[in-house]
């Protein structure tokens, strides 16, 4: 484990109250530099509030946080010179053009007018936005806006970048573009902390994931570790004849002694099992009863299922996870 001085983010007992709402309720974090750390949680879990505290925008009500060893409250200016933030809602100026937005930021970071313009054009080029350089951002599509948003965050490449729900509301193509950008950033040595409501996204991008719910981190680890956390795998079975499903479910329930749930596919069913032997026994039971199986799979639970078992709530976005990869 990394020592505290070499951590990108280190937080102890972070708390933020809004009136009586405990938006963030005692969060501990230890994020090593390099790679992507994913904050996964449903709407209102406290992701944005945590990020805003780490980015020095909001003072914590309790607890401490350090970014690259510097306190976000007492050494805010030093922290600000190493991080940048891409907010959840467009953090560029809608009324200005793409190039004007970038020149503005480059100027504020200390570039001369000509350097600022050159850097702006270089970024627009790299992000496929050159043609839209002179257009007001309000005319941009969601995906273009997001790319400009990220470009604005790396006018000077930060050591740590916060991306708050960088793909929410994007179509799959634009989402893939953002994913590509995140990977390229990491390849260049930037540490990324991103939040998402989508299990699939965290699974794809994040080296480590913190699952956050009601202001608390309820589980933390790599995607693989989190999947084993819920303790059991699951068996998915598809029958040839959907008419046999009720019978099959009753049979499996009786023989295995575990609850069996129907899937949305009328011929599909699934059940929780902790070992492969019992999975093959289950298939034997079905074969003995003359129920034909078209396909089956046994695997670790999806992050969806992990979330369900940890919180008892269905995570948002769970319904459409498992989409394009």
């Amino acid at each position: 484990m990394a020592t505290s001085s070499s951590l990108a983010i280190e937080a102890h007992g972070l708390v933020k109250l809004f009136g009586s709402v405990r938006a963030v309720d005692g969060i501990d974090l230890a994020v090593p530099p390099g790679g992507v750390y994913g904050f996964l949680g449903p709407n209102g879990a406290g992701k944005t509030t945590t990020i805003r505290m780490l980015a020095t925008l909001l003072p914590p009500d309790a607890g401490t946080a350090k970014v690259f060893g510097q306190c976000v409250v007492r050494e805010a200016k030093a922290v600000r010179s190493r991080v940048s933030l891409t907010g959840q809602f467009a953090s560029v100026d809608e009324d200005l053009t793409g190039i004007e937005n970038l020149v503005l930021l480059a100027r504020l970071l200390g570039h001369s007018w000509s350097q600022a313009r050159a850097r702006g054009m270089e970024l627009l080029e790299a992000f496929g936005l050159s043609e839209a350089a002179a257009r007001q951002v309000k005319t941009y599509s969601g995906g273009m806006r997001r790319r400009l948003d990220i470009a604005a965050s790396i006018v000077v490449t930060p050591d740590l970048i916060f991306l708050d729900e960088p793909t929410s509301g994007l179509d799959p193509h634009s989402r893939n573009e953002v994913w590509g950008i995140v990977r390229a950033l990491v390849a260049q040595g930037t540490t990324v902390l991103l939040t998402t409501q989508h299990l699939e996204e965290a699974d794809h991008l994040a080296d480590r994931i913190g699952i956050i719910d009601r202001g608390k981190i309820i589980a933390e680890g790599t995607a693989g570790e989190l999947k084993t956390l819920s303790g059991s795998g699951s068996l998915h079975v598809r029958l040839r004849d959907p008419g046999c499903r009720v019978e099959a479910m009753a049979l499996l329930g009786r023989h295995l002694g575990v609850p069996v749930t129907p899937e949305s596919d009328p011929a599909g069913l699934s059940t929780r099992l902790d070992d492969t032997e019992r999975a093959s026994a289950a298939l034997d039971v079905l074969a003995a009863a003359g129920i034909q199986v078209v396909s089956f799979s046994f695997g670790l639970p999806s992050l969806d299922e992990v979330f369900l078992s940890l919180t008892g709530n269905q995570a948002e976005g769970g319904a459409n996870s498992g989409g394009a990869t």
Binding site: L108, V155, A184
Partner: protein, 275 residues
């Protein structure tokens, strides 16, 4: 398949590796950059200049022709009296929009980004104010040009008019800090607008703008004479008509200093604590 053909890593990589940070810009440089942003906004949304153009014209024409005959006997004569005052309250009313603009800006996502930059934070406010001063100047020039067309003939000449306008701009700049403080305290633009009006109406009309102070009852005179706008208008008249300067200009300077000293630091404090 995973990475879109439009953003291949090959073109991205060099653009992503600019880790060297230029020297931190000065407070002045940041303020001017934010001023540039306000100018860009005017360029892209010229409609926002509507109030700056419409109100002055309306005020000047209405007041001159409605009250002129009754109060001064002739509209041209009344124009000589009323123009400096109308100019002053026009610009002072426009100062409300400074607080409004900042309140609206702060609610947007881009504000978070500015706040997470390692810059002298209040430069955002200074830049906004410098930008608004341009709006005040546009309104002033409009009123003066229209006044000249209507028959305004100041004895102080161009120089007198310029000095009077600069005095007004300086006072408005200082007064704007009060609206910024208010804008940072109020939650909605509506409540800010209502509050500003409640303060500004009596402040603008309990003055010597429309009629000479001597025509008022004694108790009202006392009230009108402590109003900084009365002194501002008196000083502007003196400058425009090349009259000997009274103590009014000193009172204006004092009000400016007080406004700046109280609301400058207060705005900065409130701004730093925002959200």
């Amino acid at each position: 398949m995973m990475d879109s053909p439009r953003t291949p890593d090959l073109t991205l990589s060099p653009a992503l590796s600019r880790h060297t940070r230029p020297r931190r810009p000065s407070a002045l440089s940041c303020s001017l950059t934010f001023f540039w942003r306000v100018m860009l906004k005017i360029k892209h949304i010229p409609e926002q200049m509507f109030d700056v153009v419409a109100y002055p014209v309306m005020f000047l024409v209405l007041f001159t022709y409605i009250f002129g005959g009754a109060i001064a006997g002739s509209t041209t004569e009344y124009l000589q009296f009323i123009l400096p005052g109308i100019l002053a309250i026009n610009v002072i009313f426009i100062t409300i929009y400074t607080g409004l603009g900042i309140l609206n800006d702060i609610k947007k996502g881009v504000f978070d980004r500015f706040r997470s930059l390692p810059i002298w934070q209040p430069s955002f406010l200074v830049g906004a104010l410098l930008g608004d001063t341009v709006r005040y100047a546009v309104a002033s020039i409009l009123v003066i040009l229209l006044g000249l067309a209507m028959g305004f003939r100041p004895d102080g000449g161009t120089l007198g008019v310029v000095w009077a306008t600069l005095l007004l701009l300086a006072f408005s700049f200082c007064l704007s800090w009060a609206w910024i403080s208010l804008g940072l305290v109020m939650r909605t633009p509506e409540s800010l607008m209502a509050m500003s009006m409640v303060i500004l109406f009596p402040l603008s009309f309990l003055t010597n703008v429309l009629v000479p102070v001597e025509t008022m009852p004694g108790w009202l005179q006392a009230l009108v004479n402590v109003n900084p706008i009365t002194h501002l208008v008196a000083a502007m008249r003196e400058l425009m008509f090349a009259e000997p300067l009274s103590a009014s200009i000193g009172w204006v300077a004092l009000s400016c200093a007080l406004l700046l000293l109280v609301f400058g630091p207060l705005s900065v404090r409130l701004y730093r604590r925002k959200r």
